[in-house]
């Protein structure tokens, strides 16, 4: 593995770590306000975070596919 591939891997690891910690850190989103279209924060934030997670994986794929 080349040095740049190693750097990319550490960035991917860091990105996934952030995504994971936020998803598991309940006090961060365990609230009702601000609501979105009547949906309490707890619910819409976690749905939005699915999109963030998918974005992180897509980014990781783009990075790792580059030679």
């Amino acid at each position: 593995m080349t040095a740049s591939a190693r750097t990319r891997r550490s960035w991917i690891g860091l990105l996934f770590l952030v995504v994971t910690v936020v998803a598991l850190w309940v006090p961060l989103y365990n609230r009702t306000e601000p609501a979105l279209a009547g949906m309490p924060f707890f619910y819409w934030f976690q749905i939005a975070w699915i999109v963030a997670g998918a974005g992180a994986v897509a980014l990781a794929y783009a990075l790792s596919a580059r030679r």
Binding site: A23, V26, P40, Y61
Partner: protein
């Protein structure tokens, strides 16, 4: 009796049956080989894999049980959302390696890999057995999904006669799985997923509009159910249970044999990686399906006298079918019910194929003490897939449903005990095979003990740490014990100078992309 719904339901069922048998000719291969029957020749591209894994992982039971939990218990039931979000980054980091090494060596199961990596037949059998016993109750629960839907249509007779529609559905499923192998659920998954997307889209548009928006729905939810409770002087709360359930379930999901089968049928490593960015689309759908539980609360489904008998029989699991019956025109309720029932057939087929692959490759072959010919191997797997389904059917018909639910809950605790061998094994050869067997045993005993302490009613165990109570997912606690024991025994064996088993894999095997490799055995 809902006749219009029943007719729509029956038509869709006939459609998938035809597809199931026709699938034998799709991307034609020699179905007398296990790789063709059980992995569809490893030829699925990004789109088919997306439908297949989506249909495989988001099972009918999930689609019924998740909103049922939200309906009954509130916010804690939403753990399915962080769970199905976290799983993809994790799988992206780990499982392309399994795809590559399996492609290189022709592995069909995770147990094949473990045998090659650690040179330990015992470990390989242990991993295979764990996969099979964790899968069996999961198949049985898919039947519960079908049963709830059939009862919802109005077939409410009890006793063996009441089980006739279920038996027919399963016999048909068994027949086309036998003849078409993995191609059948792959093709049917297309229909299933389209029906699920249509149903959920309709529910999310129609029901909130009718009730006055999401605000009205959430205001019908009791305050104490709306959010999680953080630890305080009043008690430990359920936030730790929420986070550990999400993490533990995410770590466990791709250890299930049916997930591995779906993964290994992909054409290339890139197909697997791309799908980890695309599969979260199903998680968004699942989040809205979870919210159907609150819609059922807001519309007071349980107050409708037409549903009383079925709520008595199926409890909260009837909440979503009742919601569909109340809110949708009859024909569309038929579509929604078909989505749920077909949603049970896809994973049930893949699970039985995966269990059959494990039994044939990793237990029967070793037991017989000789290698089998290709045709004999495929024939054995086909017969085992039938036996597995008959077993699951008998389970549901003759035993109380609660047993299946409790066993599936145990299944999650058990399957995660294969994590050190499979996941860590993909990165390192440091562990001794026998140390991993010892760790597995410790994890199984501790995890099962924790569930037993909760009388098998819950997989959340109140761990006491120096006066502090931390309720958490027993699977996660038990796998930590497993890891510690595996590491300690490995160190002990190293001190004694024990030799590691032979590793027939090469470090480069874990990076093969597969797209241009010589593996294109036509």
């Amino acid at each position: 009796m809902h006749w219009t719904a029943t007719i729509v339901f029956a038509l869709l069922f006939v459609l998938v049956t035809v597809l199931g048998f026709a699938a034998a000719r799709w991307r034609r291969g020699n179905l007398a080989q296990l790789e063709e029957w059980g992995l569809a020749g490893r030829r699925f591209g990004t789109v088919v894999t997306w439908f297949l894994l989506g249909g495989d992982l988001y099972t009918a039971y999930t689609l019924v049980a998740v909103p049922a939990l939200v309906y009954g218990a509130g916010a804690i039931g939403f753990f399915a959302v962080p769970y199905t979000m976290l799983v993809y980054p994790f799988v992206f980091l780990v499982f392309p390696r399994l795809w590559s090494v399996s492609h290189r060596h022709g592995f069909i199961t995770a147990s094949d890999f473990v045998a090659a990596r650690f040179g330990s037949p015992t470990l390989s059998v242990v991993v295979a057995l764990t996969g099979i016993i964790a899968t069996m109750p999961y198949i049985a629960l898919q039947l519960v999904g079908i049963e709830v839907v059939i009862a919802g249509l109005g077939f409410q007779s009890t006793g063996l006669l009441g089980e006739v529609p279920l038996i027919i559905a399963f016999a048909v499923l068994a027949a086309y799985t036998y003849s078409s192998g993995l191609r059948a659920p792959a093709l049917i998954a297309l229909v299933k997923d389209v029906l699920i997307y249509v149903t959920v889209a309709a529910a999310v548009i129609i029901i909130p509009a009718r009730l006055g928006g999401f605000g009205a729905i959430f205001s019908a939810v009791p305050r104490e159910k709306l959010l999680l409770t953080l630890p305080s002087a009043g008690g430990p709360g359920n936030a730790s249970a929420y986070a550990t359930l999400a993490l533990g379930s995410a770590l466990a999901l791709f250890l299930y044999p049916h997930a591995v089968t779906g993964l290994l049928s992909a054409r290339s490593r890139h197909v697997v990686q791309r799908n980890m960015a695309l599969l979260p689309a199903y998680s968004i759908v699942l989040a809205f399906i979870a919210l159907l539980g609150y819609m059922a609360l807001a519309t007071h489904v349980q107050a409708n006298p037409a549903h009383t008998a079925l709520f008595e029989r199926y409890g909260a699991n009837f909440a979503v079918p009742a919601l569909f019956l109340d809110q949708f025109p009859d024909w569309f309720a038929g579509v929604a019910f078909a989505a749920l029932a077909i949603g049970a057939l896809v994973p049930a087929a893949i699970m039985s194929i995966a269990a059959a692959n494990l039994f044939t490759r990793n237990i029967w072959r070793g037991w017989r003490g000789r290698s089998m010919g290709m045709a004999e191997e495929a024939q054995t797997a086909k017969l085992v897939s039938l036996l597995v389904k008959v077993g699951a059917l008998a389970f549901i018909i003759f035993l109380p449903m609660a047993y299946a639910i409790q066993l599936q809950l145990l299944g999650g605790i058990w399957i995660i005990q294969t994590l050190p061998a499979i996941v860590l094994g993909l990165f390192t050869r440091w562990f001794h095979g026998r140390a991993l067997v010892a760790g597995w045993l410790a994890g199984m005993v501790v995890g099962t003990g924790m569930a037993a302490a909760q009388h098998f009613q819950s997989s959340v165990f109140p761990l006491r740490l120096d006066g502090l109570v931390v309720p958490g997912y027993a699977a996660l606690y038990a796998v930590i014990v497993n890891l510690v024991v595996s590491a300690l025994v490995t160190m002990g064996m190293d001190l004694l100078g024990a030799e590691r088993g032979r590793d027939i894999t090469h470090p480069d095997d874990y990076y093969l992309s597969g797209a241009s490799s010589s593996q294109a055995v036509a």
